[in-house]
């Protein structure tokens, strides 16, 4: 990757940082809180996100496409949504981690419906979060939210399937399948092994 390429990729990030700098200069009273939030978010990222991406890599390498299609593909029946719920609920970490995992699942042939259920579960029915919610907001509050969220996730997934045209779904699947080739070194190693 050339420096110019990297610069182009991170262009919007640089602009955002400049905006933040201007923001801090214009509202100096708000600057400390912004800095604090920046720090805590970055810590979460560094703490929670690496294992998600390690698991994602392992999933990509070890789980064969045929197997994933069987469990989460178009014809997987009740197994698919059930597994999608389980995977999403067992996850930890912010929702943006789920998008990368979803891309791998799409590449491996999970159905769009199951992907949507997975995203929904990751966003709201994470088990550790529910325990925390019970603690902070009360038993009834947390259970009522869980009870309405499960049908809600399915309803949203069904609505999405109706709203997003087939061609667009095919396009994002093609996009997910189009993955950058692994580096020459790893490729050579793979070849040597064969």
């Amino acid at each position: 990757m050339s420096i110019l390429h990297i610069l182009k990729r991170y262009c919007s990030a640089l602009v955002a940082l400049i905006v933040l700098g201007v923001f801090a200069l214009v509202f100096p009273s708000l600057a400390p809180r912004a800095g604090q939030s920046l720090l805590s978010q970055a810590t979460t990222m560094l703490l929670v996100v690496p294992p998600i991406f390690l698991l994602l890599g392992l999933l990509d390498v070890w789980v064969p496409r045929e197997m994933l299609i069987r469990f989460m593909g178009e014809g997987s029946g009740f197994k698919g949504p059930f597994l999608a719920f389980l995977l999403g609920s067992a996850a930890a970490g912010p929702l943006y981690g789920a998008f990368s995992v979803a891309a791998v699942l799409m590449k491996k042939g999970a159905s769009f419906m199951n992907i949507l259920i997975f995203i929904g579960a990751w966003s709201t029915t994470k088990l550790p979060m529910i325990l925390l919610e019970m603690n902070a907001l009360g038993f009834r509050f947390a259970l009522a939210r869980l009870a309405i969220d499960i049908p809600g996730i399915i309803l949203i997934a069904l609505a999405m399937k109706a709203v997003v045209p087939k061609a667009e779904i095919e396009r994002i699947y093609a996009e997910a399948a189009k993955e950058k080739p692994i580096g020459p070194k790893a490729q050579a190693a793979m070849k040597a092994k064969k």
């Binding site: 070890w62 929904g120 925390l132």
Partner: protein, 160 residues
């Protein structure tokens, strides 16, 4: 706590994988790092947007507008704040509990919590990269509308 479990799971599987096949494990590591770097540019933007949003909407400001008497407008406002902000659950839940004890309404807090978890305006660029513009916007809009139904239901159950 969940982070610890996540680490244990990741490390265990990584070690197992390493024993089974070194090249595959190396490949997995590279793929993981690639994916992580892939979200980096958008993530940095998200980080900055959230920092500014949280600086503007302090907890004191939020609780002033989300009182039990704030009515429908308060519910919508809570939903908007929840949609824009990105706060980890272990920070958000205790904070929401605090707001609730300080006089914020149940339906307002439920709307805030629901949109906080399901709707991500600032993470939209990351979502669009995987799901495309149309699907990402559709999911967030649907989740936004659903959050009000969920909030009404939660408020109804709590006062039963």
């Amino acid at each position: 706590m969940d982070t610890v479990i996540l680490y244990i799971a990741a490390i265990t599987l990584f070690v197992v994988s390493l024993f089974r096949d070194r090249t595959k494990t190396k490949q997995a590591l590279i793929k993981g790092l690639r994916a992580l770097e892939g979200i980096m540019p958008q993530f940095l933007v998200v980080l900055v947007l959230v920092a500014m949003a949280l600086a503007v909407f302090s907890p004191q400001t939020i609780s002033r507008y989300l009182g039990a008497g704030s009515g429908f407008l308060g519910v919508i406002l809570a939903g908007l704040v929840g949609s824009i902000t990105l706060i980890p659950g272990f920070v958000a839940f205790p904070a929401a509990g605090e707001l609730l004890r300080n006089g914020a309404g149940t339906i307002q807090i439920a709307s805030f919590v629901s949109t906080l978890m399901m709707v991500g305006v600032v993470t939209l660029p990351m979502e669009m990269k995987v799901f495309g513009k149309r699907a990402a916007i559709a999911r967030n809009s649907l989740a936004f509308v659903f959050s009000f139904i969920a909030a009404a239901f939660v408020a109804w159950v709590v006062q039963l």
